[in-house]
Structure formats: structure tokens, C-alpha cells
């Protein structure tokens, strides 16, 4: 949990002026992600089943509610953005099949575009390294990824023992796998970069 920067009263007892809010964020999510948060019944099944909800500052249900209320600022700076592991349990359980992981992705992109500092730098670093690996070989080269990540974060021996065990069981290859049609993978990356800038 990140440290509270405001007094609790500022979080809980400050009145939100509903008639000053608009639905532009809700419309944006509908347009860009194809997700209609209006279908949310606020049952909380997403948050109850979420694999990481115990370390979330804002639960998935609250996130949907904040979108409905058009409150972008807490959404882009929330810790949950970086602790969500996209396990898809929320969308699987949702009685309205709201694709919350898709919305999470969109909000992460938006936060990055706006230069908002992630609350967990390492998560962003890991994602960058992982995508870099995919761009290079078409697959995640796990051993190399782990080594690179450890070098960048300074935790040189993190998971080293686990890696050793996996290596001897044949679960880790010294040379990473490659996909056959690497051109196509690169094309996907190029297209996306061109589209999103």
C-alpha cells in the first residue's frame, strides 16, 4: 500500500459534486475499449474473486464506479494499475461480462502517455523488457528476461535458486525459443507503434 498523502477525511468526507461530473471518460472507454460500464450492477463479484485485491488500493468495482463518475485522476494514479496481473478472473466472474483487464490496459497506456509515474516502477520495467523480448524473438526468453530484470533492479540473485532448479528439470532453456514467422510479429509491433505513436 502506498503511503497516504492526504488526510483520511479528504478521501472519505469530501463531497463529490455529481452535477459537475460528465460522462466523457465513460464514453471514451466505450469507444476505445468497446466496454460499456453502464452494464455494471455493482455486485462486487469482480473484487471478491480478484487474485490481487488484498494489495489493491482501488478494487475493480470501485474502478468501474470511478469511470462512471468520470474521475480520471485517481484512476491514472492508482496503485492497482500496476498490481493487476491481468489474470482475467474478474471478467470471467462478471455477470455482465465487463472486460475489466481491457480497461486496465487502456488506463495503463493512458497513464504512460500522460507521463504519470507508475507507483511500481519495476512493473513497468518488467513489461518493457518482456515486450522487448517478444519483439526480438517472437517469444518470451524467460532466463534472459529474469537476468536482465535482476541486473536493472539490482536484485542480482532474485529467484536464482528457483532458476537453477528449473534449469536442471529442463524447464528453462539456455537458448530462447523463436517463432517461425518473426516478420509478422515485428509487423504487429510496427503497426501498433504507428497507430499509437
Amino acid at each position: 500500500m502506498p503511503e497516504l498523502t492526504k488526510k483520511p477525511t479528504e478521501y472519505y468526507f469530501k463531497a463529490v459534486k455529481l452535477n459537475q461530473l460528465d460522462d466523457s471518460l465513460q464514453q471514451e472507454i466505450k469507444l476505445k475499449c468497446g466496454v460499456d460500464v453502464e452494464t455494471c450492477m455493482e455486485c462486487g463479484k469482480c473484487s471478491g474473486g480478484c487474485s490481487n485485491t488484498h494489495i489493491f488500493d482501488i478494487t475493480p468495482r470501485q474502478m468501474i464506479k470511478l469511470i462512471k463518475m468520470g474521475r480520471e485522476e485517481p484512476l491514472l494514479s492508482m496503485d492497482s494499475l500496476w498490481t493487476c496481473v491481468s489474470c482475467q478472473l474478474c471478467v470471467d466472474r462478471c455477470p455482465s461480462r465487463i472486460d475489466i483487464p481491457r480497461v486496465m490496459d487502456y488506463l495503463r497506456e493512458k497513464a504512460c502517455q500522460q507521463g504519470i509515474k507508475p507507483t511500481r516502477e519495476q512493473v513497468k520495467l518488467f513489461n518493457e523488457l518482456m515486450l522487448g523480448s517478444i519483439m526480438k524473438t517472437g517469444r518470451v526468453e524467460e532466463s534472459l528476461l529474469a537476468v536482465k530484470f535482476n541486473l536493472k533492479t539490482g536484485n542480482y540473485f532474485k529467484d536464482a535458486d528457483l532458476g537453477r532448479q528449473m534449469f536442471f528439470k529442463g524447464k528453462l532453456k539456455a537458448f530462447g525459443p523463436r517463432v517461425k514467422n518473426l516478420k509478422k510479429i515485428r509487423q504487429i509491433f510496427n503497426d501498433t507503434i504507428q497507430k499509437e505513436g
Binding site: G44, S47, G49
Partner: protein, 344 residues
């Protein structure tokens, strides 16, 4: 032409019984058929009723006695309709008993009152229905309540029971998008009955909204919360896991926004109400209107008319409480009587 002034009532639950009684009292012949061996329908499976904690058996006996006392009502149990042919002024219907004997009758009007069944809760892998022990749907729990009440001294009751509402209701992903209407009330009733039998047992009801629109309904639910001390938690449970021989439930308290866990010994799933197999069969035999879920649908401005000379009553049309089913039974009877009267 007296055959054409005979009504066929299909289904011996509260709706069908009331319809048969009223038509009989008005002086017309009724053939009442019931698929199972005894009258009463779902009523027979219930331990108590809301909102007045009445014994459903008393109601079944009251209705069955009126049926027995009427010389105009012919009751046929263990009987189903296997064919129906439309004629100018009614239907030619084939009835078949469990023994395989079939019989053809002519009737002037039909009332379908074939009731409901419960949605199969095993569609929700996360709730573990059919996988873990002590997880049951509400009708199975009703039977258990009867058993508990009969052997109260010998039972060692569960320490904690959790009730999940909206299992298959209000779910356009794996279940039915509609609200099943009566689950809020019978869940409150069941939790209240547990506290009545075993005050030490803790009861948690997980709800999204509680819907208590009816005479004495709101007061009923409040009394269960306030006087019987059933704890209501707002949130739809997301996962059930076995833990040390008990059941661990994970959910969010959506009013606080906090993840919560409850360890229970038993879970009761208020499964959605769906059209029964019999309802689907009768709808197809008599070519009635049906809605997108298979419930018998009504014609514009005629709330109990499903087709030419075919009417319906009770939960074959949509989820309904006991009194509502009886009201519809009486109203469908009025439709039949009015039809017969016009043809004098």
C-alpha cells in the same frame, strides 16, 4: 355439448388447484391432471411460507379437500398430456398414465399451470455446487429444514450457514438476465427459520439488492435482520474454497469496498427460477406464445391468455409467490368461465 364446457387444468400446484376449484364451484366440469403421484406441486416441498410463517401443508390440505368435495372435478395423478389436437371448439387431448395407459378426452378450454424448476447451479464452477459437500440449492435446503425440524434434538447444527442470492439470476454471462423475484423473500425466510431452530447458528446472506415489494414483505425481511439477527452482506460471492473441512467464501463488501472472507459449514444457493420441463412441453403441444426464456407469454391486454382457448397461471408464466399463483389460478378460471358463458 357438455364436453365442450369441460376445462382441462394441467398441473396440481397452488395455481392449478385454485383454478380447478373455482371452475368447479361455478358449475363446470374440470379434469385436473398432475404428473406426480400427489397434489400440491412445489408447495409440498416447502417447510414454511413467507411472509406469515405458515405451514404449506395446511394450504395443500385445504385445497385438496375442496377438490375432493367437488363432484365436478376429476383428478388424475401420475398422468401427463402427450398429444393435443385443435378442434373447432376446443381440443382433443391424449392423456397418458405412468402405467402406459392412454385416454382421449375432449375439452373446451385449457389452463396450463406447470410451474418452474431451478437453474442448475453447477454452471458456476466458482461456487462448487456438485463438487464440494454441503452446498445445495434452496429447494434441497427446504427439504433439509423439514428434516431438521422433525429431529431437532438429534441434529448437531452447522455453526455457520451462508446464503447466496442471485445464483443464475441477474446474470447475462452464465445465467438469466432477469430477477427471479421470490428468492429475496424465501432466502430471508430460510435464514430466519435456521435462527428459529438453532439460534446459535450464524447466518450470512449475500445480496446485491434485496427486493421486498409486496404486502408485509419489507417488514418480514427487516424482522429477520433485526429480530432474528441474520447478517446481510452486500456483495456477490466470487469464490468458494474448501478449507480444513469447511468452506471459505471470498467476496467484497461493496458498501465498504473491502475484500471479505467468511468460513461457513453450509452454503445455500438461491438458484434462478426457470420454466419447468413440463412447461416447455405444454407450450409446444398447445402452441402457446412463449417468451425468450421459455416462460409462457401472454397476449396483449390479456394477461393470462396464451393462445386460442389456452390460459396459464402460476410460475409457468414467470416466478411468482404462493398467493400470486393462486390469484392467477382464480383469474385464469374466470377467463375460462367467461368463455364458456359466451357460448351458451
Amino acid at each position: 355439448m357438455t364436453e365442450m364446457k369441460t376445462a382441462l387444468v394441467i398441473g396440481g400446484g397452488p395455481a392449478g388447484l385454485e383454478a380447478a376449484i373455482k371452475i368447479g364451484q361455478a358449475g363446470h366440469k374440470v379434469i385436473l391432471i398432475e404428473r406426480t403421484g400427489s397434489l400440491g406441486g412445489t408447495l409440498r416441498k416447502l417447510y414454511s411460507s413467507f411472509p406469515r410463517w405458515e405451514n404449506p401443508e395446511d394450504l395443500v390440505n385445504y385445497l385438496a379437500e375442496q377438490i375432493r368435495n367437488s363432484s365436478l372435478i376429476t383428478t388424475m395423478t401420475d398422468t401427463t398430456v402427450t398429444a393435443a389436437k385443435k378442434s373447432a371448439q376446443g381440443y382433443q387431448v391424449t392423456l397418458e398414465t405412468n402405467g402406459g395407459k392412454s385416454k382421449e378426452i375432449k375439452v373446451g378450454a385449457v389452463i396450463i399451470a406447470t410451474g418452474f424448476e431451478l437453474f442448475d447451479a453447477s454452471a458456476y464452477g466458482e461456487y462448487g455446487y456438485g463438487i464440494f459437500d454441503n452446498i445445495m440449492n434452496s429447494l434441497e435446503f427446504e427439504a433439509l429444514l423439514k428434516e431438521w425440524a422433525n429431529n431437532k434434538e438429534k441434529i448437531s447444527p452447522p455453526k455457520t450457514i451462508a446464503f447466496f442470492k442471485c445464483v443464475g439470476s441477474r446474470d447475462r454471462s452464465k445465467g438469466m438476465p432477469y430477477c427471479s423475484k421470490i428468492c429475496c423473500m424465501y432466502t430471508a425466510k430460510q435464514a430466519g427459520l435456521v435462527k428459529e431452530l438453532f439460534p446459535q447458528t450464524k447466518c450470512y446472506v449475500f445480496y446485491m439488492d434485496y427486493r421486498a415489494a409486496g404486502r408485509e414483505y419489507e417488514e418480514f425481511v427487516r424482522s429477520v435482520i433485526e429480530q432474528k439477527h441474520v447478517r446481510y452482506v452486500r456483495g456477490r460471492p466470487a469464490k468458494v474454497m474448501p478449507e480444513d473441512g469447511r468452506l471459505l467464501i471470498r467476496a467484497e463488501d461493496t458498501l465498504m469496498g473491502l475484500p471479505i472472507e467468511v468460513t461457513a459449514d453450509m452454503i445455500v444457493l438461491a438458484a434462478a427460477i426457470i420454466p419447468s420441463q413440463g412447461t416447455r412441453e405444454m407450450a409446444s403441444l398447445f402452441q402457446t406464445k412463449i417468451d425468450q426464456y421459455g416462460f409462457i407469454d401472454y397476449e396483449t391486454n390479456q394477461p393470462l391468455k396464451a393462445g386460442d382457448r389456452v390460459f396459464f397461471a402460476g410460475a409457468c408464466g414467470f416466478a411468482v409467490e404462493i398467493l400470486g399463483a393462486m390469484e392467477q389460478g382464480a383469474a385464469a378460471a374466470a377467463e375460462v368461465l367467461s368463455l364458456f358463458n359466451q357460448e351458451n
